[in-house]
């Protein structure tokens, strides 16, 4: 089954492809941008008989959301932790 996402590009496509592909119930997942001047991204999913492409898509999205949340939390924790070189006024160089 192919999903066509409007206004999306490699930013979402590649990460989502990776996340869906990680699911062991998925036989194949790939994405393409048919034409560079058309803001459209197609993502194709083929699954085993035990599940459906829609379910897998939903799980892929949810997994990626969870992963991003982990990254956000890790980043916030690291910023508040403050264990790094910090200089408010310094402008490079």
């Amino acid at each position: 089954m192919t999903f066509s996402l409007k206004d999306e590009d490699h930013t979402l496509g590649n990460a989502l492809r990776y996340m869906i592909m990680k699911n062991p119930e998925v036989d194949y997942c790939g994405y393409s941008i048919p034409h560079p001047s058309e803001a459209k991204m197609n993502i194709r999913v083929q699954t085993t008989d035990r599940t459906s492409a829609i379910e897998v898509m939903d799980k892929g999205l949810q997994d990626l959301i969870d992963l991003c949340t982990v990254v956000v939390d890790a980043f916030k924790a690291e910023v508040s932790n403050g264990d790094f070189e910090y200089d408010e006024d310094a402008v490079w160089p």
């Binding site: 089954m1 999903f3 996402l5 999306e8 590009d9 490699h10 930013t11 979402l12 590649n14 990460a15 989502l16 492809r17 990776y18 990680k22 699911n23 062991p24 459906s52 492409a53 829609i54 898509m57 939903d58 999205l61 949810q62 997994d63 990626l64 959301i65 969870d66 992963l67 991003c68 949340t69 982990v70 990254v71 956000v72 890790a74 980043f75 916030k76 690291e78 910023v79 264990d83 790094f84 070189e85 910090y86 200089d87 408010e88 006024d89 310094a90 402008v91 490079w92």
Partner: protein, 284 residues
């Protein structure tokens, strides 16, 4: 679930992605993102460059321009001036606003009026722009910053105009980008052999290793090539233009990515519900 870069069911660290900040300055942040896939790290990079919203001048109404520069030339220069976008979340996109053209909910008005009456050359800078909203001012780096030069005036030259600054993303125009550059590197020793040029005769001699190589163990040159290895340590350094704090660029970038995902997930559910209603079902 397993969020690490490792494949399903594999043994190893299942701690999920983690971040180590190495340096945080007024206009730059440098951090290491680990235990995640290249695609996710690249999404973060792409989203920081092109999809973090900021405020930038989008429309210019010129009343008087007797300077040496053409109207459209000045309008272009004005667009590139970074505007403090710390409170960008309070401003709506003009397309989402209820107003017919623009209003204070979805735009910021900046005016400029400079006339040269002396014999000396007068410079017009971003500091001459007067904003109607004190939260959104042209960026001033520090007290020594004289502002960004817009045009130089000779005696008798005058420039009077009104700018409408709007919220936008760099996908539409690069002037909305909060960053001037994002450095992105993985595998500084090129163990994975992702980079290779046909012009190379001895890559080791021709390419100096980057600063990030200090943070990784030097590989044994006789070690066999591990063709199953995947990158999982990403060195990212972001330099801002001053409109947003570097740490905010990263967190807003991740937030934008989450919003996109949430939106697609919602659309998928809606699509599914509307298809189930008309009983015809799908054939797939």
């Amino acid at each position: 679930m397993d969020l690490s870069g490792a494949p399903y069911g594999s043994l190893g660290t299942l701690s999920g992605p983690s971040i180590t900040i190495q340096e945080l300055k007024k206009d730059r942040i440098s951090f290491i993102l680990t235990e995640t896939d290249l695609s996710v790290a690249n999404s973060l990079r792409r989203v920081m460059i092109a999809e973090v919203p900021t405020i930038a001048i989008d429309m210019v109404e010129i009343e008087t321009n007797t300077t040496v520069l053409a109207d459209e030339f000045i309008a272009h220069r004005l667009g590139m001036i970074p505007i403090d976008s710390t409170d960008v979340e309070r401003i709506k996109y003009t397309r989402d606003c209820t107003c017919s053209q623009y209003c204070s909910e979805c735009s910021v008005e900046l005016t400029l009026h400079v006339k040269c009456t002396e014999d000396r050359t007068k410079i017009v800078t971003s500091k001459d722009l007067v904003s109607n909203n004190p939260q959104f001012q042209p960026v001033v780096e520090d007290k020594n910053d004289q502002g960004i030069l817009i045009v130089k005036l000779r005696k008798g030259h005058e420039l009077k105009l009104k700018c409408i600054a709007k919220k936008g993303v760099a996908k539409e125009h690069a002037k909305w980008s909060p960053v001037s550059g994002v450095a992105f590197e993985y595998d500084p020793y090129n163990k994975l052999r992702h980079t290779h040029y046909w012009i190379e005769e001895d890559a080791g001699k021709e390419w100096p290793v980057s600063g990030n190589a200090k943070l990784e163990a030097e590989p044994n040159p006789d070690a066999p090539f591990d063709y199953n290895a995947k990158p999982d340590r990403f060195y990212i350094e972001t330099e801002t233009v001053g409109s947003l704090k570097p740490e905010d660029v990263v967190s807003m970038g991740m937030k934008t990515l989450l919003d996109k995902l949430g939106y697609v997930q919602m659309q998928l559910k809606e699509e599914l519900a509307s298809h189930q209603q008309d009983q015809t079902g799908w054939s797939y």
